[in-house]
């Protein structure tokens, strides 16, 4: 049977595609200009920059796979038309199909073979027993779960670890091979150079990161084929699946919000600083007003209003996920409205400074139009601030999503996100013994995403912001080579 489907482009999917395209165009421009390439080289040469870039790429790939949506076809109906399922799936759903399909009845602990709560089961001879029923999928291959479970998990885990090491060795040797070929040196000396950190790019850190990722990922994949590695939630869904799906929501909130606010913040900020006078007054008034409303309340009010609007216009949405998606987009919009003021103020200050520079005055004297001055002379010179703002905002927005979803003004309850995961797990806090795995998985994944986003934003800021001194401080520590005092004071 040919797998047939109907592609679905949700609003956020389209915007992510736009963002990706913009990123590719930016990357292409950077590659062609040496002066733009220099700071990015700095980011890659920074150990934490490279490490966080690798980890974030993994998150990004998962998020992008989860962005390609479609509706799978059902059997052909009598009138010859093909009907499509109501649920919208993504490529990620296809890849992790076992995780998605293996739903149990209700809670089960990580790697367990039995449900978390007792149920009355009828035995073959008609007697009724109250016990923990076996899971339908988790550890279903075991004949004698109580005895074999631990050894089976250990066996599979060890297999996963060995597999991870094999993959790592393969990837490492490919990398060393390429490097050695490029440097035209022997493999052994190249390996030595990498391990002793004589290369400009910290390849050794990249290799260790890869090892860490593989050691985490491969055993997880191996075990999750037969078990629920993070347990199941209230309706029996695999928690690992939920966590993987949450990544896209987090990424969408973190990136689209900035994409939405960016044009306003940059354009208005530059206009305020460049034109001054009444334009400046109006723009300052607008952002002071928006800024003076407490952000959470503005978001709450706006989300409530969109909710009312959506409830009273249910005919606008074809599927439940289209509805949830539009709400996510609105959340991004509203978050963007509340968070653009900071960047706008920075832009204004910077262009106030720039417009007094000689080269702008020269352009004005030559009769270059204001629009051209802004686009050609001011915009490229504030781009580093914009970039820093984008990466700095990301982690805060991911964290904010969880809090907002808890307050009840976040994403749609039907949308899988870290916030909704935490929110539903929170209700089980009082249970004895505690259902902790849902919370742990959500917090763990969120921590990793936010931590590496923070490290990445630090590396980007160090590379792009000429004022930052922390980098110099850090390098001193790593190289343990404190220069003599005279040398330091010399220009």
């Amino acid at each position: 049977m040919v797998f047939s489907f109907k592609p679905i482009i949700l609003w956020t999917d389209a915007l992510i595609a736009v963002l990706l395209l913009a990123g590719l165009v930016y990357g292409w421009t950077v590659l062609r200009h040496e002066h733009l390439r220099a700071p990015w080289k700095k980011v890659i040469r920074n150990t934490s920059g490279l490490v966080s870039m690798i980890v974030l790429t993994v998150f990004l790939v998962i998020g992008l796979l989860d962005t390609l949506h479609f509706r799978p076809a059902m059997e052909i109906q009598k009138n010859g038309e093909r009907a499509y399922a109501v649920e919208v799936l993504s490529l990620l759903d296809l890849i992790v199909a076992p995780l998605r399909r293996h739903t149990e009845k209700t809670y089960s602990a990580p790697l367990s073979t039995h449900l978390f709560s007792k149920e009355t089961i009828e035995l073959a001879d008609g007697r009724q027993v109250r016990t923990y029923p076996r899971l339908v999928y988790g550890g279903a291959h075991l004949k004698n779960p109580n005895q074999d479970r631990k050894s089976d998990i250990a066996k599979r885990g060890a297999f996963g670890l060995i597999l991870a090491l094999v993959f790592w060795c393969l990837a490492g040797s490919v990398l060393i091979g390429i490097l050695a070929r490029r440097r035209k040196i022997g493999l052994a000396s190249c390996l030595k150079g990498v391990l002793r950190r004589q290369e400009e790019i910290p390849w050794n850190a990249a290799l260790w990161t890869l090892l860490g990722l593989l050691l985490l990922a491969v055993p997880t994949i191996v075990l999750s084929l037969k078990y629920h590695i993070f347990g199941t939630d209230k309706v029996g869904q695999d928690v690992l699946y939920l966590a993987l799906k949450s990544i896209r929501t987090g990424l969408v909130i973190g990136t689209l919000t900035t994409l939405v606010m960016l044009p306003f913040a940059v354009l208005l900020g530059i206009m305020a600083g460049y034109f001054q006078g009444w334009i400046d007054d109006i723009i300052q008034y607008v952002y002071t007003t928006l800024n003076s409303i407490p952000a959470v309340l503005l978001i709450a009010a706006a989300v409530l209003m969109t909710q009312v609007y959506m409830d009273s216009h249910p005919e606008l949405f074809e599927t439940a996920s289209a509805r949830a998606d539009l709400r996510l987009l609105f959340l991004c919009l509203i978050l963007g409205v509340t968070s653009w003021t900071g960047l706008c103020r920075l832009m204004r200050g910077e262009s106030l400074k720039l417009r007094e520079m000689e080269y702008i005055q020269a352009a004005q004297a030559f009769g270059v139009s204001d629009f051209r001055i802004i686009v050609r002379h001011i915009l490229p010179n504030v781009m580093h601030i914009v970039l820093i703002a984008i990466v700095m905002d990301f982690s805060g927005l991911v964290l904010a999503e969880a809090v907002l979803s808890y307050v009840g003004v976040g994403v749609d309850p039907s949308m899988i996100s870290f916030g909704t995961m935490i929110n539903s797990a929170r209700l089980e806090m009082a249970r004895e013994p505690m259902v902790w795995w849902s919370l742990a998985a959500a917090f763990g994944f969120m921590f990793l995403l936010v931590l590496f986003a923070n490290l990445f934003s630090d590396a980007v800021r160090d590379a792009f912001d000429p004022r930052v001194q922390t980098r110099a401080v850090r390098l001193q520590i790593f190289k343990k080579r404190l220069k003599p005092l005279e040398q330091e004071t010399q220009p």
Partner: protein
């Protein structure tokens, strides 16, 4: 100085009007009162009579901006805009959906909110500044490096985790303090320990790192080099010169939040069951009580503007060069 303050207050008026217009258009133009009534009464099987009754009870049956049927000035005053938005300026918040007076609720709930927010703010400020000073004092050493690493790790953890983790550890596992609730008078103290602790700890990462960059920026300035050249000890340089000069950036961030402390923290209060303004707001959001949300938005912006004015005044206290004219 008085002139300056008066001018600032007058300048705040257009901002408050702007806030009002934004909330008004959010609450009444994007969705008509009819929509809201239908949501409140349940979307299906709602009779037009019920909608009219709901609107009448809450005073939403008037025209939005101009009441052409009313005589004289009532043309303007007998409208939703005047009734629900302009009256906010006189701090007349009206009634909540459950019939209680919002102004009274705000007055009684301010205390508990402040009882948490103020200790969190003061203790937090003291903690963050001392950690930051320590890191700046030992800059470019392993202590500083690992301090920053710890800060980055701590600021990467969701604030919800601190709350849940704190409740689990201190209340459930060690049985030291009650998990949530609130008491009156001195009894409140035992309920306050955990939320205050959680509030301070959850901010350490970003707080300490933020102040560290401020101190490092100050340390790079010329007067510090001069002070060292005079032969002052590093200790004296840090506490006498750097700390005093860093007061301006510290105040910029700190003073503005003081008035907003009255609003309390939405998350903390609802997690710990404290009857403050934060949990009031969250309840209003969950029950879609728009008049309360509107009142809180207005109150929040008033307090924020008060904070901005206070910030300017505080500058004159720490920096004699600044005069407010």
């Amino acid at each position: 100085m008085l002139n300056y303050i008066i001018r600032r207050v007058l300048y705040a008026l257009p901002i408050l009007i702007g806030v009002n217009i934004i909330t008004f258009s959010l609450f009444f133009v994007v969705n008509t009162p009819d929509d809201m009534a239908r949501i409140h009464l349940g979307v299906k099987r709602v009779t037009p009579e019920a909608v009219v009754k709901w609107k009448q009870e809450r005073g939403y049956d008037k025209p939005l901006l101009l009441n052409s049927s009313a005589p004289g000035t009532a043309k303007v005053t007998d409208t939703i805009f005047f009734d629900k938005s302009i009256k906010l300026f006189a701090f007349q918040f009206g009634l909540a959906d459950d019939g209680r007076d919002i102004a009274y609720e705000i007055k009684t709930r301010m205390g508990p909110s402040l009882a948490i927010a103020l200790p969190v703010f003061l203790l937090g400020l003291a903690c963050y500044i001392s950690f930051a000073l320590m890191m700046a004092f030992f800059r470019a050493t392993y202590l500083d490096f690992w301090g920053v690493v710890l800060c980055v790790a701590m600021m990467s953890i969701s604030s919800l985790f601190y709350i849940i983790g704190g409740q689990y550890l201190l209340s459930k596992l060690w049985n030291l303090v009650p998990i949530s609730g609130y008491g009156t008078g001195i009894m409140a103290a035992k309920f306050l320990i955990l939320p205050v602790l959680v509030g301070v700890v959850s901010g350490i990462g970003s707080g300490a790192r933020w102040y560290r960059t401020i101190f490092l920026e100050e340390i790079g300035k010329d007067y510090v080099r001069t002070a060292r050249a005079k032969g002052l000890s590093e200790w004296r340089v840090m506490f006498k010169h750097v700390l005093q000069n860093a007061m301006i950036p510290i105040l910029t961030g700190a003073v503005v939040v003081i008035p907003v402390l009255f609003m309390g923290s939405l998350i903390t209060e609802s997690f710990f069951g404290i009857p403050g303004l934060g949990s009031y707001t969250i309840d209003a959001i969950n029950s879609q009580d728009f008049s309360v949300v509107r009142a809180m938005v207005f109150l929040g912006s008033v307090l924020y503007i008060v904070g901005l004015i206070l910030t300017d005044i505080s500058y004159t206290l720490v920096d004699p060069r600044i005069r407010l004219e």
